[in-house]
């Protein structure tokens, strides 16, 4: 009986465990025990982060969510302080569109950071690569001076006496 060809079991890529959202949820519930208004404010203000947490995918999901989440929280904190000290202003703060723009705008800044971060990193890495290239060239030159062009593995220069020792100019430097 011919065996069925064994199918390679495709392993699901382990989902990056995103602890951010559960942690946030637990924090909001805990907060609600002291002030449900502040908790609701966070729930409303963190809407962009929650959307990203639910819809986001890809290898860098965690970094993106954390980036947007931290920015978003930074935008909510001042309003949360107001609600904490004067809970009666809760409805006024939540219904003010300017406040909402400020809270959601901070999330947008987080998105902007996601876009700009790799570009800045690429620029920095480029500068570092230039420095590294200089070092490599120096090391290579030192090895060439010590061992001659044979060390490059050029078959034409192999012989009893290296070409550079015979006063010839090496084919490769």
């Amino acid at each position: 009986m011919a065996k069925k060809p064994m199918k390679m079991r495709r392993r699901r890529p382990q989902q990056e465990m995103n602890g951010f959202l559960p942690l946030l949820f637990i924090a909001l519930v805990a907060l609600a025990l002291f002030s449900w208004q502040v908790s609701v404010l966070f729930l409303v203000g963190l809407a962009p982060s929650l959307v990203l947490g639910v819809t986001g995918k890809g290898v860098h999901k965690t970094e993106k969510l954390q980036c947007v989440g931290f920015s978003n929280i930074a935008g909510i904190i001042p309003f949360a302080m107001q609600v904490w000290s004067r809970p009666r202003d809760f409805s006024m703060i939540v219904s003010d569109p300017i406040n909402l723009v400020a809270m959601f705008g901070s999330a947008a800044i987080g998105y902007a950071l996601i876009y700009v971060g790799p570009m800045v990193a690429a620029q920095i890495l480029q500068v570092m690569a230039q420095d590294k290239l200089k070092t490599i060239a120096q090391q290579r030159q030192a090895l060439l001076e010590l061992w001659g062009p044979e060390v490059l593995g050029d078959p034409g220069s192999e012989g009893d006496e290296p070409a550079w020792a015979q006063g010839k100019r090496g084919g490769r430097t």
């Binding site: 860098h60 970094e63 993106k64 954390q66 980036c67 947007v68 989440g69 931290f70 920015s71 929280i73 930074a74 904190i77 001042p78 302080m81 800044i109 987080g110 950071l113 996601i114 700009v116 971060g117 790799p118 570009m119 800045v120 990193a121 690429a122 620029q123 920095i124 890495l125 480029q126 690569a129 230039q130 590294k132 290239l133 490599i136 060239a137 090391q139 290579r140 090895l143 001076e145 010590l146 061992w147 001659g148 044979e150 060390v151 490059l152 593995g153 009893d160 006496e161 290296p162 020792a165």
Partner: protein, 676 residues
């Protein structure tokens, strides 16, 4: 080519200064196969009668006899006085070993011109010659030596007015070397003239008998006799009658000579018998023809043989035909019918391994060995007969030397085939009952059996040559003008050879390598390394320098500037082959420094080329891999970094996250601590 031959050292040695050899006065009566004799004088003792023997390098001497006679001279023997290396002018300047002997001035009993000394007569033979020879032979036998050169031409009156006779020297050539067939006992005479072995005391007594017979008749009885007819006559009539041509010697002398020349060992007279005879108290022994005869004749090549020794000899002369003959026989039945006194046991039959004709025709390689085994069965006290050659196993050293001297590759190949442990053990098993000495002889050659067939440097037949003949000088063509008896002498000769531009790849010379291996101890590993590096000149030269350095250190040799220079020159390709520029310059400077000193051991201790080469190769490989790594990195870093690159993206996002976190922490801090 002259540059490849080691030059003779300048000046004369202390030995050469002391003794003056007159090359215009050759002494043919003292010349032997081992050397040429000349008149000589001792500057320190001008009146002493001496002669000098210029040794031939290709004939091994009997060194133990020299040492014994030099230390304690034996009366009635020509004793050696001194020996040493001397530069001689004989067809060009050459360095040769010269031995100085006492010179008996009374003349040879049988001159080289074929005439008997007029002083020889029956009375003198019976009275002084026999007693003198007996004294000499007995003294030698007492020391464990045989003379084996008791020829009428090698017996001398001590002086013109003396009745005393002395035997000529017996140390310059191997025992029985190229002696006439008729003057050797039947046991050893059947062997090749260069391979008759040490023999025993009875061989000397036989020779004495034969010499007395020749002197009595005043004829060179051994001359002009065909070997085969002589053998037939000796076996059928007895050696005494065969050599004398049927003539008897009357009286007491005849009794003596017949007793000495008895062909059967048990019947041959010994020293005691001769003494008894001399004193007239002994009963004369009767000689008989002991039966070596077969119960019925065997026809081989149209001749009916009755004597098994003759049949063995006939087989030995034509082994191919003998193989066919044996294969066509029912061997066990033939043995039963022809040798009724022999019991062919199952074991012996297995050892003899006489195969029947397979019908394929032709002679197989093992057929020759089969013939040898059967010959040994028929004549167990005789020599080994193989492929037309016959040898007594302890005569192998001189036979190998002779083969090398004549560059006889066929004979060397045959000896190589004989040096087969299983074959020799089988022969031993066949003959051990009647020839117990054979197994001892096999033991002597056994250490050389594994070396003989090897093609490696320091091994092979050359190693067998120097191993079996420790006294033999190195007979390499490069040393044809000099005498190389030790590694010290070889190193000095190499130094002189280097000065003239020779000595290149000297260790590739198989004779030099074998000589070093035989005369040095624990050199196997060095030769294995040299053999492995034969195809790598740079490594070979490094190892050669190491080898010579070790020899110079071990033998505490003085400075050898020319050889050192040559070895340094030999190292040049190795130095050029070093890839590390700094190392190359440093090694070159060291070599230049050592070259001036002439100390090879320093050359190897300060500049260990083998280690340096290995280090250089290892570091070069490391540098190669480092360069490749650098090339890879260069390619990687030369590329433009894009935000979409994994690395840039990872680092960028991680950076953004930290920025966002920092902003959050800052705003939180400012919110909770507005005044702070």
């Amino acid at each position: 080519m002259s540059g490849d031959i080691a030059p003779v050292p300048d000046g004369q040695s202390a030995f050469g200064e002391r003794y003056v050899v007159d090359f215009s006065a050759p002494l043919t009566e003292f010349t032997t196969f081992g050397g040429d004799a000349f008149k000589a004088s001792d500057k320190e003792r001008p009146g002493k009668e001496i002669y000098a023997l210029i040794h031939h390098p290709t004939i091994p001497m009997r060194n133990d006899i020299y040492r014994s006679l030099k230390a304690r001279p034996v009366s009635n023997v020509v004793n050696p006085v001194d020996r040493g290396l001397m530069t001689v002018d004989q067809g060009g300047r050459r360095q040769r070993l010269v031995t100085i002997f006492e010179r008996p001035s009374g003349g040879a009993l049988f001159g080289p011109d074929g005439r008997v000394n007029p002083r020889v007569n029956t009375n003198r033979l019976r009275q002084s010659v026999v007693l003198s020879a007996l004294k000499a032979v007995a003294a030698l036998h007492k020391r464990g030596f045989t003379h084996r050169s008791i020829l009428p031409t090698n017996m001398y009156f001590v002086s013109n007015d003396s009745e005393e006779v002395c035997l000529g020297e017996c140390y310059s050539a191997p025992p029985g070397y190229k002696q006439p067939f008729a003057l050797e006992t039947l046991e050893v005479a059947l062997a090749h003239e260069t391979a008759r072995g040490n023999g025993d005391a009875s061989c000397d007594f036989y020779q004495l008998g034969a010499a007395l017979q020749s002197l009595y008749f005043g004829e060179q009885l051994w001359r002009g006799r065909d070997r085969d007819s002589m053998l037939m006559a000796r076996i059928n009539q007895g050696s005494f009658w065969a050599l004398g041509g049927g003539r008897d010697i009357p009286g007491a002398l005849g009794t003596l000579v017949r007793g000495l020349m008895a062909d059967e060992l048990e019947e041959r007279w010994s020293a005691e018998d001769v003494l008894d005879w001399f004193e007239g108290v002994g009963k004369p022994k009767r000689t008989s023809m002991r039966a070596w005869s077969m119960n019925r004749p065997t026809n081989f090549k149209g001749v009916a043989y009755v004597d098994r020794r003759l049949l063995a000899d006939a087989f030995a002369r034509d082994p191919r035909e003998a193989a066919n003959f044996l294969k066509s026989l029912d061997f066990p039945a033939w043995v039963q019918l022809s040798f009724r006194d022999e019991i062919l046991t199952e074991r012996l039959e297995q050892v003899l391994k006489v195969s029947t004709d397979s019908g394929l025709g032709g002679t197989r390689p093992d057929d020759y060995k089969m013939v040898t085994r059967v010959c040994m069965f028929m004549h167990p006290t005789g020599p080994i007969h193989y492929k037309g050659y016959s040898l007594i196993l302890d005569g192998l050293p001189s036979m190998v030397t002779d083969a090398f001297a004549r560059d006889d590759r066929d004979l060397l190949g045959i000896i190589l085939e004989i040096l087969d442990e299983r074959f020799l053990n089988a022969l031993g098993e066949i003959c051990s009952e009647r020839n117990p000495k054979f197994l001892g002889q096999v033991r002597e050659v056994r250490p050389f059996i594994p070396l003989a067939g090897s093609k490696q440097l320091g091994r092979g037949m050359e190693r067998v040559l120097y191993g079996l003949n420790p006294i033999l000088p190195c007979i390499s063509q490069r040393f044809s003008n000099v005498w190389i008896g030790s590694i010290k002498q070889m190193m000095r000769a190499l130094d002189r050879l280097s000065a003239t531009g020779g000595a290149k790849n000297i260790l590739l010379d198989r004779h030099v390598a074998a000589f070093c291996a035989a005369h040095g101890t624990d050199l196997e590993r060095e030769f294995n390394k040299l053999a492995a590096a034969q195809n790598d000149p740079a490594r070979f030269n490094s190892l050669s320098a190491e080898f010579f350095g070790m020899l110079q250190r071990r033998f505490k040799l003085e400075s050898l500037p020319h050889l050192t220079e040559k070895l340094v020159e030999g190292l040049t390709p190795a130095v050029k082959g070093l890839r590390n520029k700094k190392r190359r310059e440093r090694v070159q400077q060291l070599l230049e420094k050592v070259k001036k000193g002439g100390d090879i051991s320093k050359l190897t201790s300060e500049v260990n080329m083998v280690r340096i080469q290995a280090e250089d190769a290892r570091e070069f490989a490391q540098a190669r891999s480092a360069i490749m790594k650098l090339e890879k990195e260069k390619t990687r870093f030369s590329r433009k970094v894009l935000p979409t690159d994994t690395d840039a993206r990872n680092r960028g996002l991680r950076g953004s996250r930290w920025v966002a976190f920092a902003a959050m922490a800052l705003i939180g801090f400012m919110t909770f601590f507005p005044g702070g």
